[in-house]
């Protein structure tokens, strides 16, 4: 073919194991949609297009055709036209921002006659392609400022456009490509700081109601976490056991002394004690910096002080920057509020539905909660409820494990790619599926805030199914024609 420019021959095999898992997901997904939209009283006749399950069958059929077509297209096509895809995608996103009508509070749908498309869904594979293309450019080093900014822009610009369309969830999906950057050399320290920030945020807010002297209980716990994280950083980057010992030992002795004093009936300001412990760690690290003149110490001090500043600003961000509905979603997810009628309704009802499934579930089509439409969005974002209620612990665990196998298989496939383009694209696929799995199921079982993104292959909807099929089968096509080593 015309695109056969590079090195490739079509001798490889499609990874049939992944295709098999894909087909299993489609079957389970269709059964779930059928169960979730099944109406106890008037079961609709087959092939009535007003029925969601029948419509989902149409989406599945077209997705299979799409998958077949994708395997037929030459692998080089994607690499050659990655930027063209990207620019087209950005163009469509901008057009969507300008012309999209509001559907269910979101302005992300392009309506052309009878066809409704969500460009944001297709942007996932487009960004993955663009990233893969950038990384495979000649002499590309991620940790050069120019490259880093370019890479981040590729991710953040479409995310920004999607936020304008009120699809915050999808924008977060784009941010999951940070995992790709990590695999390709983004320093682990940055990922570590990122995770630490989330942990501080969660603990700082969750326990912000109880006061412990100078600080709230949340801040107190977070101060101790900062000390522990500092110790981890020191262990990783300084690699001197005595320093780790001092960093843990000094705060420990401060707390021990305070505890002993409290035995004599003297009231202890525990918040103040924690601050003293933290300051002792900072002073110690500064001393080390001035005696050894190693920059790593000043980085760690920056981490400690930055952590503290971040902690002190979370409450402000939470109360004054976030919208009320976002605040409530976070509070419900952190278990600070149990609001079964209001904001927590979604999560409350979905936990009830899943919890009522028990060990082995109520049986296919026997779930009262999902059948009777207690769970909102039950065949889209909350589809996992139906599995939880009707298939129980056994069934939902099997689905989770199947997903894990799927993701591990994708990692394996990504690692066996011979080109940077293939590997980076592969990790893009891994990131998207992992993020969707983590957020969607986490939300349904009450461990994550409510962020409306679908469960791949299960949630009802044409755009998302096509989007995931495109994402996956482009990768399988790349894998099929990888160069044998």
């Amino acid at each position: 073919m015309y695109f056969n420019s590079k090195e490739i021959t079509d001798k490889g095999q499609v990874d049939w194991l992944t295709v098999l898992m894909y087909v299993v997901f489609l079957i389970l997904g269709w059964l779930s949609v059928y169960a979730a939209s099944y109406d106890i009283e008037n079961a609709v006749s087959w092939f009535d297009l007003s029925d969601r399950a029948t419509m989902q069958l149409v989406w599945i059929g077209t997705s299979l055709m799409l998958a077949f077509a994708l395997l037929k297209i030459d692998a080089g096509f994607y690499e050659t036209y990655a930027f063209v895809f990207y620019l087209t995608g950005i163009f469509l996103l901008i057009v969507t921002c300008l012309v999209a009508p509001e559907i269910n509070g979101s302005r992300s749908w392009l309506v052309v006659g009878p066809v409704r498309l969500q460009p944001a869904e297709f942007m996932k594979f487009i960004i993955a392609l663009a990233l893969a293309k950038v990384f495979s450019l000649y002499d590309f080093h991620l940790m050069q400022w120019k490259n880093l900014i370019l890479t981040l822009s590729i991710i953040v610009f479409p995310a920004f456009l999607v936020v304008l369309q009120s699809e915050t969830g999808t924008a977060l999906v784009y941010l999951s490509f940070l995992l790709v950057l990590y695999r390709e050399g983004l320093p682990g320290g940055i990922l570590f700081v990122f995770i630490a920030a989330i942990v501080y945020f969660v603990f700082g807010l969750k326990f912000s109601d109880t006061q412990l002297g100078l600080f709230s209980l949340g801040e107190f716990i977070t101060l101790i976490l900062i000390i522990l994280f500092t110790a981890v950083l020191v262990r990783n980057y300084v690699k001197r056991k005595e320093v780790v010992f001092m960093i843990l030992g000094m705060p420990a002795s401060v707390f021990l002394i305070a505890f002993l004093v409290s035995l004599f009936g003297i009231t202890i300001n525990w918040g103040l004690i924690a601050l003293v412990a933290l300051i002792s760690v900072i002073v110690y690290l500064l001393l080390l910096f001035f005696s050894y003149r190693k920059r790593i110490y000043i980085y760690i001090v920056a981490f400690v002080i930055g952590s503290f500043a971040f902690l002190e600003s979370t409450e402000y961000v939470f109360n004054d920057v976030l919208q009320p509905h976002q605040r409530i979603r976070i509070e419900v997810a952190l278990g600070m509020k149990q609001d079964l009628q209001g904001a927590g309704y979604h999560v409350g009802q979905s936990k009830i539905a899943i919890g009522s499934g028990g060990f082995s579930g109520k049986g296919f089509l026997n779930g009262t909660q999902t059948k009777l439409k207690y769970v909102p969005e039950q065949d889209t974002d909350f589809i996992f409820c139906t599995i939880g209620e009707e298939a129980g612990f056994v069934g939902s665990s099997i689905v989770l494990i199947l997903y894990l196998c799927f993701i591990l298989r994708l990692i394996y496939l990504a690692e066996r790619q011979t080109t940077t383009f293939g590997r980076v694209y592969g990790y893009g696929v891994v990131s998207v599926f992992l993020f969707h799995l983590m957020i969607n199921i986490g939300m349904v079982i009450g461990l994550m805030p409510v962020i409306g993104i679908p469960l791949p292959f299960f949630s009802y909807g044409g755009s998302s199914l096509w989007g995931f099929t495109l994402l996956l089968f482009i990768f399988l096509r790349l894998d099929k024609s990888r160069r044998k080593e």
């Binding site: 936990k351 009522s356 009777l372 939880g388 591990l408 891994v430 983590m438 009450g446």
Partner: protein, 636 residues
């Protein structure tokens, strides 16, 4: 260079794989917690999804003592609409079936959908479209129901009354209020409960036991089918039918006689305590308080200045006046203060207090029998004084007085008798403490309180208590607690109504009292009540002074003298002398009781009584002036 990051950071694939595995493990643990460790989610789910639909039992019917049906349930049918299900609906045919025109249909539909009038409106659940179809309309609709998707018929029952009598005795039913809901878990919002009369006092018998049907429903409340096909359902148990001791003909006749008068008639069967007639006047038609016009009718009854909603027979308290004298004579004789031969003199009044209380012309001195026949005031004042100042029998006046009060209590005065009707009042018989407090000294004497000897002063009694005393006299010393329900279908009467209450005064004493009452009818104040030669009536008039207006007219008695079959008390408020109104009514009621009809010779009396109007003037402010007042207030 191209493979640089592939190898340099190759280890990071393990970290990424680890993150994926950690997420899945944490989620499986959370699933384990939700699905296996926490049983409460299953309970939540059940209360979510089950609709327990109450099945209402039929309320018990009520019959009179002769088996005449008084109160029953008529099925009515409400047309319910589920708007969402009404596709391909032929409105014209529907209107024709219900015999309404298109305009009415549109109005009813608009009313149903108007959330101001119907706050619970939803297009998914059955909504009331038209209430209280007749059986014929229902029949027509039922035949065609298959043609009208979304139309349902809801069965309801409505209280129906065969007679326009004894509204306040039967009572009415209405939706339960919050107090009852809080106190009794049996009731839920929207349930009906007896609010007054027999409907209220026999609520537990009449209501039956609710049943339940369990349905599955969705989050919008739409029903999705029966749970386990009805295996867990419970059928309702119908309420008990009641048979009253009331004779509806006698009752209706009593209300007829009492028209345009305020007061009551109570007639009791002495051997059983069964009330055969209990009139509280003015009375109202119980059918007024059913159905659609309940609200407006209730309001007009409540605003009626003559207060038809009060059951005066049990809740009206009056000074018994001279009807109290037989009980006095009985107490004095029982205590040995007087004998049948003790005579006291009377000079148009009670001599020790300068001729007060006053009395009328009669021979003097008198013993107890003629004193009762002529209703001599002085005799009973002497008697009370002799009892209260007797220091050989009683330590002081307090001890004497409490003995006196005790006997009256045993004859049913001064406390609730326990009739099976709500809002019964106690009446009032003071005790020694009361007078010590009121007179502010311990050594008060009979002359301070002398008017109680003739049923005036502080003494108050309900018509039921006076009738009950007549029953005590008829029985020569005992009574059964008066009651209106003689039979509860499927269960016995409460033992309260089958237990004999003894007054502690012997029959021989009562024989003398009865003789006095018999003489009052044959040759004393009660001659109008004389039904001889057929029936020997014993009676006592009363003319009770009343600070608010004309004296109340009272009659108390029983008949026949031997083996009495009925005891009676009549009170006509502001009816003046007992003989002028109460006694004639008593005579007519006894005629009706014994003969079932009024003989020609008494027709003139009946006409006279029916045409007598004794209604106190009620001062009511003109509504228009009230309006200007309130307007003025507003403007101020």
């Amino acid at each position: 260079m191209e493979y640089n990051s592939k190898t340099t950071y190759a280890k990071r694939k393990y970290i990424i794989a680890f993150i994926a595995a950690a997420v899945v493990v944490v989620y499986i643990l959370q699933l384990f917690y939700l699905q296996i460790l926490s049983p409460e989610y299953r309970e939540f789910a059940d209360s979510n999804a089950f609709l327990r639909k109450t099945l209402y039992p039929a309320r018990g019917s009520i019959y009179d003592r002769n088996g005449n049906l008084l109160v029953y349930n008529q099925p009515t049918y409400d047309v319910m609409m589920v708007v969402r299900e009404m596709n391909k609906f032929d409105t014209l045919d529907f209107c024709n079936t219900l015999n309404i025109d298109k305009a009415t249909y549109l109005k009813l539909e608009a009313d149903m959908k108007d959330r101001r009038k119907n706050p619970g409106y939803s297009s998914y659940t059955p909504q009331l479209f038209m209430s209280q179809l007749t059986v014929e309309q229902y029949g027509l609709l039922q035949e065609k129901l298959y043609k009208f998707p979304g139309i349902y018929v809801q069965n309801r029952t409505r209280r129906q009354y065969k007679y326009p009598n004894m509204g306040v005795i039967l009572g009415y039913i209405a939706e339960v209020d919050k107090n009852v809901l809080d106190a009794d878990p049996y009731y839920v919002r929207g349930d009906y409960i007896g609010k007054s009369g027999i409907e209220s006092s026999h609520e537990a018998d009449l209501r039956g036991e609710k049943g339940v049907e369990i349905w599955l429903r969705d989050a919008r409340g739409r029903l999705q089918g029966r749970y386990k096909d009805g295996a867990e359902d419970k059928a309702p148990v119908s309420g008990r039918d009641l048979t009253l001791s009331i004779d509806i003909d006698l009752q209706a006749y009593g209300e007829y006689l009492m028209q345009n008068k305020i007061g009551s008639i109570v007639m009791i069967e002495p051997q059983t305590g069964e009330i055969v007639c209990i009139v509280s006047s003015p009375s109202y038609d119980p059918a007024l308080l059913t159905g659609k016009d309940f609200g407006s009718n209730y309001l007009s009854l409540e605003r009626d200045p003559y207060k038809p909603l009060i059951n005066r027979a049990v809740a009206g308290m009056y000074p018994p006046g001279s009807t109290f004298k037989p009980s006095q004579g009985a107490v004095f004789m029982k205590e040995g203060i007087i004998t049948a031969d003790t005579r006291y003199s009377c000079f148009h009044g009670y001599p020790p207090l300068g001729g007060h209380p006053a009395c009328h012309s009669h021979a003097s001195p008198l013993s107890v029998v003629p004193a009762l026949a002529t209703s001599c005031n002085s005799f009973f004042c002497y008697g009370l004084n002799a009892m209260l100042s007797n220091r050989e029998k009683y330590a002081d006046v307090n001890a004497a007085f409490d003995v006196w009060r005790n006997y009256l209590g045993k004859m049913g005065y001064g406390d609730r008798l326990g009739v099976d009707l709500p809002s019964e009042k106690k009446g009032f018989i003071p005790n020694s403490k009361f007078y010590t407090k009121v007179l502010k000294r311990k050594n008060w004497n009979a002359h301070n309180i002398i008017s109680i000897a003739i049923g005036q002063g502080e003494i108050l009694a309900t018509p039921l208590q006076i009738a009950n005393f007549a029953a005590v006299a008829a029985n020569r010393g005992y009574y059964y607690v008066p009651h209106v329900v003689r039979e509860r279908k499927g269960t016995a009467l409460d033992t309260l109504y089958t237990r004999k209450h003894d007054s502690g005064i012997s029959p021989s004493v009562f024989e003398i009292i009865v003789q006095g009452m018999a003489n009052a009818v044959t040759g004393g104040t009660c001659r109008v009540a004389n039904l001889l030669p057929e029936i020997e009536v014993c009676g006592k008039t009363g003319t009770a002074q009343n600070p608010h207006g004309d004296d109340h007219s009272l009659f108390m008695g029983f008949a026949p003298k031997n083996n009495p079959r009925v005891a009676i008390a009549v009170i006509v408020e502001n009816g003046r002398f007992g003989a002028s109104n109460a006694v004639p009514i008593g005579r007519l009621m006894l005629q009706k009781f014994f003969n079932d009809s009024i003989p020609e010779t008494d027709k003139w009396l009946e006409t006279r009584i029916v045409n007598t109007t004794i209604l106190p003037h009620i001062y009511t402010r003109e509504l228009s002036s009230a309006k200007t007042d309130s307007l003025r207030n507003k403007n101020n």
